[in-house]
């Protein structure tokens, strides 16, 4: 059976201009949202198939890690694909794509 559960991702550009993105477990959603908000990162639930494939390939984030340990560095290409997937979904169904 194919897993179609939404994937929680946090992403953004850090203080040094580097792209960062990670996925988080659903149970960490509340803390991930809090930390993302404080650090100025974006948070989204990725629901569509193409976006899920991109999100699956992201490194795991850690809500208990501080600084750069919270969201990991990723390649610019992966970051761009994730941004496009999230923003594309947001444009289609904005009230559901972003948390």
């Amino acid at each position: 059976m194919t897993n179609t559960a939404p994937i929680l991702v946090v992403f953004g550009i850090d203080g040094e201009g580097k792209p960062r993105a990670s996925r988080f477990a659903e149970r960490d959603a509340e803390l991930a949202a809090k930390a993302a908000g404080l650090l100025g990162f974006r948070l989204a639930w990725v629901t569509d198939e193409a976006g899920r494939a991109i999100a699956q390939a992201l490194p795991d984030g850690n809500v208990f890690a501080r600084g750069n340990g919270f969201v990991r560095l990723v390649r610019q290409s992966a970051f761009d694909k994730l941004s496009a997937a999230v923003d594309g979904a947001a444009a289609a169904i904005p009230e559901k794509a972003e948390v």
Binding site: R27, L38, R66, G67, N68, F70
Partner: protein, 334 residues
């Protein structure tokens, strides 16, 4: 851990450690911890959900790491301790350093007490962190990290946070239930405090075991928290338990890695019913077993198996040791 002859080697190790529990196990372990926590106001703070008191206790307990207890205690007596309310007041004044904004911002602070420097030199003159006269700069950083953790991650409710973490890890049928319960609390706090698994396990084991007898999950989690120090590691080495189980490793992080000292002690403890030492104990009580090993070895305990008693270049010759015949007497530094 080697699979070859594992059951019989584990049985042998269990017999030896059970004997140690008979000699050095403390049937009043939980009672003593309970009295100590009550005396320090920790038990009532748990019932009230009083995070500031719990912060003060945990910080002080962990401040004893890496130095003799009397030295750490003496320093705190002379220079004072840092308290939740002091840090809260200083943080509420919105210091300029960007690292003090939240738990997640507080990374690579870099404060060094003697050099009087940090990673944000422009903000150093107005920074509240160096204002506390602690034994070293790492403790200042640890105090702020722990404060920010309790404020931001635990939302100011440390008791509730532990309850939730343990409830989430409470999967009755999981084969690694003990490890899950332990990790649920220890792993996040390791990030928060930046100390070793050993130091945190020691502090949290006592806290959870004796903090509130009504919190069953706390007791179960505290019972499986094992503190592996050099005495415990060296005991497992000298007795031949590590070697026979194919688990030789140097003292350090490997003690908590798979097939390390902690896992071995946990497996041995699983074969020892601690209720035989005190019917009120949980049946599976690795912390009791580890504490018995420590007490057997330590100078401040029974003073049987340590570097002062044994010439570690050779096989132990202490015929008077109560487990001499059961021990492989493997030299530590041949």
């Amino acid at each position: 851990m080697s699979n070859k002859s594992k059951p019989s080697e584990l049985d042998r190790a269990t017999r030896l450690v059970r004997r140690i529990c008979q000699i050095a196990g403390d049937p009043r372990l939980i009672d003593k911890l309970t009295r100590d926590l009550a005396k320090r106001g920790v038990r009532s703070a748990i019932l009230r959900g009083d995070t500031p008191v719990l912060f003060d206790w945990l910080l002080e307990t962990i401040s004893y790491q890496g130095i003799g207890n009397h030295v750490a205690h003496g320093y705190m007596q002379r220079h004072g301790r840092v308290r939740w309310n002091e840090i809260a007041a200083l943080i509420e004044a919105h210091p300029s350093c960007p690292k003090l904004q939240s738990y997640w911002h507080f990374d690579h602070c870099g404060y060094q007490k003697v050099e009087r420097c940090c990673a944000e030199p422009d903000h150093f003159p107005a920074c509240p962190l160096p204002t506390h006269d602690l034994r070293n700069g790492r403790l200042n950083q640890a105090a702020y990290r722990l404060f920010l953790f309790m404020r931001d991650v635990a939302d100011g409710d440390f008791v509730g946070w532990i309850d939730r973490r343990l409830a989430d890890a409470d999967l009755a049928s999981a084969p690694d239930r003990a490890a899950r319960l332990r990790q649920a609390v220890v792993d996040p706090l390791t990030h928060a405090y930046g100390v070793s698994n050993k130091v945190l396990s020691m502090a949290l084991a006592d806290f959870l075991l004796a903090g509130d007898s009504q919190r069953v999950l706390w007791i179960e989690a505290g019972a499986v928290m094992i503190a592996v120090d050099t005495l415990v590691h060296n005991f497992l080495h000298r007795t031949g338990i590590l070697g026979r189980l194919g688990a030789g490793h140097p003292y350090g992080p490997a003690c908590y890695a798979p097939a390390g000292c902690a896992e071995i002690l946990e497996r041995i403890a699983g074969n020892i019913d601690a209720r035989r030492f005190n019917p009120a104990f949980p049946a599976n009580f690795p912390r009791f077993v580890q504490h018995a090993v420590w007490a057997f070895c330590a100078e401040s305990g029974l003073d049987q198996c340590n570097g002062r008693q044994i010439d570690d270049r050779k096989r132990c010759t202490r015929h008077e040791c109560p487990v001499f015949r059961q021990c492989d007497r493997v030299p530590l530094k041949p």
